[in-house]
């Protein structure tokens, strides 16, 4: 079992590095959206500071959604997914590895880039750890929930808009908690409550989403 997880991780790693474009797209999108805002609304630091949490979170959310549309599509098209479903190994575990791998290369990269963009949007240094922490807890939830939608729309030729409609309502709690924590941090108030809630969501998504993703993929390959 551990060996399959490791081999799957290696496979995903190879596939990702042989198509670096797919890897960079969400990051470039994230960077573009965040850096367009100061140009559009003007360089006034107080205004940028009050908008920064929302801008960074919305950009991270949309970048995740954008990158997830094709998460299972190529495996579905070439028949790999059939073989996953037929394997005696638990499908939920394999999709968890796949989604976490995807998060490592997109979500985690955004988390690491976020402080830089935070500074660009005039966030005070003291609030950056909160930004990183909330994104670290929130982006896996975005990836896992989005993967549920990607699994359900895998059989459709263009599932992009449907995926957004399905998943955006589920993203709203994460968005509210993430930006709420940042607003609290900017006003010098404690953020523990928000962080704990985000942690809860992350645990819930980690434990339940793989089951839903596996069920969605099973439906997808039986079409």
């Amino acid at each position: 079992m551990r060996r399959v997880v490791w081999l799957l991780f290696c496979r995903e790693w190879r596939l990702a590095w042989r198509r670096p474009g797919d890897l960079l797209n969400p990051l470039v999108f994230f960077a573009l959206v965040v850096s367009l805002f100061p140009l559009a609304v003007g360089p006034e630091p107080s205004m940028l500071r009050s908008m920064a949490p929302g801008v960074i979170w919305v950009a991270a959310l949309l970048a995740t959604l954008l990158s997830l549309d094709g998460l299972f599509r190529s495996d579905y098209d070439d028949g790999s997914l059939e073989q996953w479903v037929l394997s005696p190994h638990p499908l939920a575990l394999m999709v968890l590895v796949k989604v976490l791998h995807h998060w490592l290369l997109s979500g985690l990269a955004m988390v690491l880039l976020a402080p830089l963009f935070g500074l660009m949007l005039a966030l005070p240094l003291s609030s950056l750890p909160v930004l990183v922490l909330t994104l670290l807890l929130g982006t896996p939830v975005l990836s896992l929930l989005g993967a549920v939608g990607a699994a359900l729309t895998v059989g459709l030729k263009s599932g992009g808009v449907l995926l957004a409609l399905l998943i955006l309502p589920l993203y709203i709690p994460v968005l509210i908690l993430g930006t709420g924590a940042m607003d609290a941090a900017l006003q010098g108030m404690p953020v523990t409550g928000y962080a704990l809630w985000l942690g809860c969501l992350a645990m819930l998504a980690l434990s339940l989403a793989p089951i839903a993703i596996a069920a969605g993929l099973r439906i997808g390959v039986s079409e």
Binding site: R14, L15, G79, V85, L86, S87, V221, S222
Partner: protein, 211 residues
């Protein structure tokens, strides 16, 4: 692994409110080759996908060694014993032939690199170990997928159009391998439009004449 008898018990399949087949009953013993034939759209692929476990049957049961393959211990056995190769060869263009086979086998049981090289030699792809599969032709793609038949130890093979895009020599080699598998007690269930009458012990199931 020795196969157990497979029994289809009044199996039915319905797609988009259209009945493809109904009350299909059949018993397959170890050592048998079953060719599922019939016109396009008669439900050959659907039958194979139901048998593989990809598609739910609308009615009926499949038993493997007397136990249902749809749930419980029978399903566990069936998952370890049957190998399904469908229309789509499950070969990733960005991976090399060796990486593809290594992962596909790992889905059931990891195999050694030497075994993969031998299997590639059997399907005429020796020397292509490090070639990414998007540089290969359609027939070679199919050969990569079929190399699994030389690698994995599943006793029951379910093959959907295995001869597609394969040249004459390749077809002959594959036929020989299938007959050998059956002679060793294995079971093969396959669809093909290619005539298999010259092979010993092939049973025919004509889906066009079921209804």
């Amino acid at each position: 692994m020795k196969p157990l008898p497979v029994e289809l018990d009044s199996l039915a399949c319905e797609r988009d409110q259209r009945e493809l087949f109904a009350s299909l009953s059949l018993r397959l013993e170890p050592g048998e080759i079953l060719q599922v034939a019939g016109p396009n759209g008669s439900g050959k692929t659907s039958l194979l996908r139901i048998m593989a476990g990809l598609l739910p049957a609308s009615a009926g049961e499949i038993h493997y060694g007397g136990r249902s393959v749809f749930h419980g211990a029978g399903q566990e056995d069936w998952r370890r014993h049957r190998l399904f190769i469908g229309h789509a060869p499950a070969v990733k263009g960005a991976l090399t032939t060796e990486e593809n086979l290594s992962w596909l086998c790992a889905l059931s049981e990891p195999v050694a690199v030497e075994a993969i090289w031998q299997a590639l030699e059997q399907v005429g792809l020796r020397g292509f170990e490090d070639i990414p599969c998007h540089n290969l032709s359609a027939g070679q793609h199919r050969r990569v997928a079929l190399a699994r038949l030389y690698l994995e130890r599943h006793p029951v093979w379910i093959l959907d159009e295995p001869f597609t895009a394969i040249d004459k020599a390749g077809v002959a080699a594959l036929e020989k391998h299938i007959v050998k598998h059956a002679a060793l007690g294995g079971m093969v269930i396959m669809t093909t439009h290619h005539g298999l009458e010259h092979l010993p012990g092939v049973r025919q199931l004509d889906m066009g004449q079921l209804n």
